[in-house]
Symmetry: C2
Subunit: 221 residues, 2 copies
């Protein structure tokens, strides 16, 4: 465990959001911010913010607030965003192509090295200057190029097999967009993006809103 603290998953989930808001503050030229000001901005309570950031030793100073640059850099380092990651995308369908074209990732250190496909019509194409390669060669490619992350954009039927292959090839993390829960060995990190789960949650909340249409509390997530 070295000397890094054990941090709850709930806190980790909030860190990227803190980071986004800090980046916005940097852009606006803000140097420091109190937990109360930060609270008004981000929508968490000031005490939640203090508690969250205390997990990392606490960067705030009583009566001064948080140094925006220092906190941004510290959170970036905690998230591991102070280095570059090499990704491959598996599946050159609509979603795979959309992600390959999403230049935002490159700006933030996530570089797509290759896209893998089984469809012979797509193999050999380039998307956003990234080569679409034969899925057959994925294990060799991941090994030879020390790829960090596999992004699964296949059907749910293929997702587990793809994950198994990636893990066999020594991948360190899997970002799964297939609408199924996949299993990975304990040393591989897994993050699921279940789009339909999110859409179904939205449907639920829309129907609850109809039931409670007399309320008008501001909703912020």
């Amino acid at each position: 465990m070295k000397d890094k603290p054990k941090i709850s998953n709930a806190v980790i989930k909030r860190l990227p959001r803190y980071r986004r808001y800090l980046k916005e503050l940097q852009r606006k030229g803000v140097d420091k911010i109190s937990s109360n000001e930060f609270s008004a901005l981000i929508g968490y309570t000031a005490s939640q913010i203090r508690q969250d950031l205390n997990n990392f030793g606490g960067f705030g100073q009583q009566g001064y607030g948080y140094n925006v640059d220092a906190l941004y850099n510290e959170i970036s380092a905690i998230l591991g965003l102070d280095r570059e990651y090499k990704m491959v995308i598996i599946g050159a369908g609509n979603l795979g192509q959309a992600l390959a074209n999403h230049t935002y990732y490159y700006k933030t250190g996530f570089v797509v090295s290759a896209i893998f496909e089984v469809n012979p019509k797509l193999i050999g194409m380039s998307i956003n200057d990234i080569k679409v390669m034969d899925y057959e060669s994925i294990v060799e490619y991941v090994e030879d190029n020390a790829i960090d992350i596999g992004v699964i954009c296949t059907t749910k039927e293929s997702a587990q097999e793809v994950a198994d292959k990636l893990c066999f090839a020594g991948i360190r993390g899997i970002w799964n967009f297939a609408p199924i829960d996949i299993e990975v060995p304990g040393h591989v990190a897994l993050e699921n993006m279940h789009l339909t789960d999110s859409l179904h949650s939205l449907a639920y909340h829309m129907n609850r809103m109809d039931d409670n249409s007399q309320d008008s509390v501001s909703k912020k997530k």
Copy 2:
């Protein structure tokens, strides 16, 4: 509040997942399942499952287990998936196009009626037989066609303005893919898909794994 129970957000977040697994069981011809069997499958504890499903009056019978069809239909109804929703997508970039092409939604009752764009080169095109229309006409269109959900696939700079327009036009739910937190009135449901937040969580977990590489607990989310 009518007579529907108040259910925590954490439970709601798990319902689409229960539903996915129940659908899988239906496909395999399974009629009933005990909470222990369900637990082995879905990865929540049996007591968690019983507690979650008790929120809805509990569909299980002691010594029998859950009726798969009944539970599936009940969860679908709770989520509001027993009806159809009309969606519009705003932004015909890569992500907007990927979502428009994602036929899975249609099968599950989410129908994309139109895509809205500001780029004159894209207006007039069709994507998956869905018309790309001028963003200028969005308020009229949403009003006239009783659109339920707006899917924001714009840049983060435009997202709030688009949300404001959708809310003005009477939208009931917003599915936001722009990498920014938007604000909506209390009667509008909001669900965010922050792709980069998820990727940053993945980076964090990958780095934690490196720290703990001696552990090998199975990880399942």
